[in-house]
């Protein structure tokens, strides 16, 4: 049941009506039922996996909190009898119990994720190694169910568990409420990866009907559907044709495919998140923003602060920081400063941690080498930029370009191009194809295909290109307006006739120009597969 299917529209319509008809105290229960229904329709086999994650994480969270409470009570009771050393020893003992709960839960949940998502990748690599050593015996791939949204709900659950361990959030005592946090259907497919502290309150509290909020949510959904159905799905045909046949479509075609894919990815992913946030908003629930006009970034570092924000902050808080400040890394930091000097010694541990994070981010995106290389390529660009920072500083000072609008536009354009190049690893499943296509762009001699009508044979007509160009113009305009504040707020301040014209116009655009028709089968969201 994709967000863009008629069944889904029917499902959320019934849900919205029921949500506001039933008493407020039952709203979260209805949402839990709806989320499990959504998941059941997607695949009954998936249920066991999400249930396993829910039960183990909930149980471990409760045990960790019970341990903290017990520790506090015991220390209070024996306060006068204990020396500072004894208190410390007791605290360390209790802490190691909590660590064991965290590790056991992580082992189970990362284990489920690893087995379902990466077993065949592992088998393919083992076969590759066996083949390289002339071993004819090969392991057969296994048939495994890849549960819908497993990467998202597993990460969300792990985040919750670590927050409970760190004491930054309280454990949820009610297993059904926790089950809703894990399975909340609008964000199950492609995130955002919410934090328990940010989402739970809004998820469980009563939400009386407020016309203005419902209206705002529907407007956000409409904008998301516009981006997904009018822009992203229209581009899909051309992108699939180009990347599906690298032998035929190279050089200027690959360049066109790279640019189109970057636009498609933006429209598809941000559109999907707009729909997610919009659905939640209709029900009065606040889901965190996942994008902050990412293609306006002036550097790759800034881009990763503005794109898929929830995933990036997840990796920062639960992988980068723990790896960077763990004891072995601190030892390594001392060692490298002693042996390589202050400058190199300071950087080395940070770079090692970053390498771990970017490799993990790559493999999280998919069980394939192209994603791992994509992660490492991001790491390399970020580290090189970091090293060149002083040089940039001197350049900015020497030519007084900092703050100039023309230079800002140059920086934005340069970053966009860099993102397009990195996305090439995402397009082609074979890493060798990516490098070959990148080389073919640099040495292209078929530039005339860009204007001789050849692009019209890729599954997109002239009208399609026109609609995509106009859609991109509209997205750019909205992004520029967003710098001044909420665009919906600006529209809401207009006279009634103007407001009605804007929203009815957007609805009509989706109906008339959406990429669908009889027998319509909307493509999945790109980020579903992650």
């Amino acid at each position: 049941m994709f967000f863009t299917s008629y069944e889904f529209l029917g499902f959320i319509t019934v849900l919205f009506i029921l949500y506001y008809v039933i008493p407020g105290k039952y709203q979260w229960m209805l949402l839990l039922l709806a989320s499990y229904f959504f998941y059941f329709v997607a695949g009954a086999d998936y249920l066991i996996y999400i249930l396993a994650t829910t039960v183990t994480t909930w149980f471990a969270g409760c045990r960790i909190e019970q341990n903290v409470d017990r520790q506090r009570a015991w220390l209070k009771e024996h306060k006068s009898e204990l020396s500072a050393e004894e208190k410390k020893e007791y605290k360390n003992r209790q802490k190691s119990i909590r660590v064991r709960w965290v590790l056991a839960c992580l082992l189970i949940n990362i284990g489920i994720l690893a087995v379902t998502k990466y077993t065949n990748f592992f088998i393919a690599n083992v076969n590759g190694i066996l083949g390289a050593f002339g071993q004819p015996e090969k392991l057969s791939p296994v048939t495994l169910v890849l549960p819908l949204g497993i990467s998202y709900y597993t990460f969300q659950s792990i985040g919750y568990l670590i927050d409970v361990y760190r004491g930054t959030t309280e454990a949820e005592k009610n297993p059904f409420k926790f089950a809703l946090f894990v399975s909340f259907f609008p964000q199950l497919i492609q995130g955002p990866i919410s934090r328990f502290g940010d989402l739970s309150q809004s998820l469980y509290e009563r939400h009386p009907f407020k016309g203005r909020i419902v209206c705002c949510g529907l407007q956000r959904m409409l904008w998301g559907y516009f981006k997904k159905m009018v822009i992203a799905d229209r581009i899909l045909a051309a992108v699939s044709t180009i990347i599906g046949d690298p032998g035929t479509y190279h050089g200027a075609y690959a360049l066109a495919g790279m640019l189109l894919y970057t636009i498609e990815l933006y429209a598809d992913f941000t559109g999907g998140i707009d729909i997610t946030i919009g659905i939640a908003e209709v029900m009065g629930i606040t889901v965190q923003e996942n994008f902050h006009r990412p293609y306006f970034s002036k550097s790759l570092k800034e881009y990763w602060r503005r794109w898929h924000i929830s995933m990036c902050s997840w990796f920062r808080d639960y992988v980068f920081y723990p790896v960077s400040v763990c004891k072995p890394m601190q030892e390594f930091s001392r060692f490298s400063r002693k042996h390589f000097g202050e400058v190199v010694g300071r950087r080395l541990p940070v770079y090692v941690s970053s390498f771990v994070v970017w490799s993990a981010t790559g493999i999280w995106h998919g069980a394939s080498w192209n994603f791992i290389v994509w992660g490492i390529a991001n790491f390399v660009v970020l580290m090189v930029s970091e090293e060149l920072e002083p040089l940039y500083g001197r350049f900015h000072e020497r030519f007084s370009v900092d703050g100039r609008l023309s230079y800002k536009i140059f920086q934005v354009g340069r970053t966009f191009l860099l993102i397009c190049c990195l996305n090439l690893f995402d397009c082609y499943t074979k890493v060798s194809d990516t490098f070959r296509m990148f080389g073919s762009i640099l040495t292209a001699s078929n530039w005339k295909v860009l204007w001789d009508g050849s692009l019209l044979s890729l599954g997109m007509s002239g009208l399609d290109y026109g609609i995509v160009a106009a859609g991109c113009g509209l997205m750019l305009l909205v992004s520029l307006w967003q710098r001044e504040g909420s665009v919906r707020g600006m529209i809401a301040r207009q006279p009634y006739g103007m407001r009605a014209a804007v929203w009815c116009g957007l609805f009509l655009l989706i109906v008339l120009m959406g990429s669908y028709g009889i027998g319509y089968d909307a493509s999945q969201f790109i980020y579903n597969r992650f």
Partner: protein, 76 residues
């Protein structure tokens, strides 16, 4: 406090760490700076700042960071 200010100055000489109270919110310190900072603090003050301590409220100002160091010293 002087030692902490020296460490901070070695990261960003142009920032007035005695006055600045939004080091994280204003993105003056990024994740790389924080990790470098923690390695130095752990060494100089002989404390252990864990990942759980890395919160904006602990790193937004030199004062807050110094309070965290003192708290960790007391715990030890």
């Amino acid at each position: 406090m002087e030692e902490l200010l020296d460490i901070l100055k070695s990261l960003h000489a142009d920032v007035d760490f005695e006055k600045e109270e939004h080091l994280i919110d204003n993105m003056i310190l990024d994740s790389f700076d924080i990790v470098t900072l923690i390695a130095e603090i752990n060494d100089v003050f002989d404390v252990t700042i864990t990942a759980g301590n890395i919160k904006p409220e602990n790193f937004n100002s030199a004062k807050a960071l110094y309070a965290l160091i003192q708290k960790l010293e007391d715990e030890d």
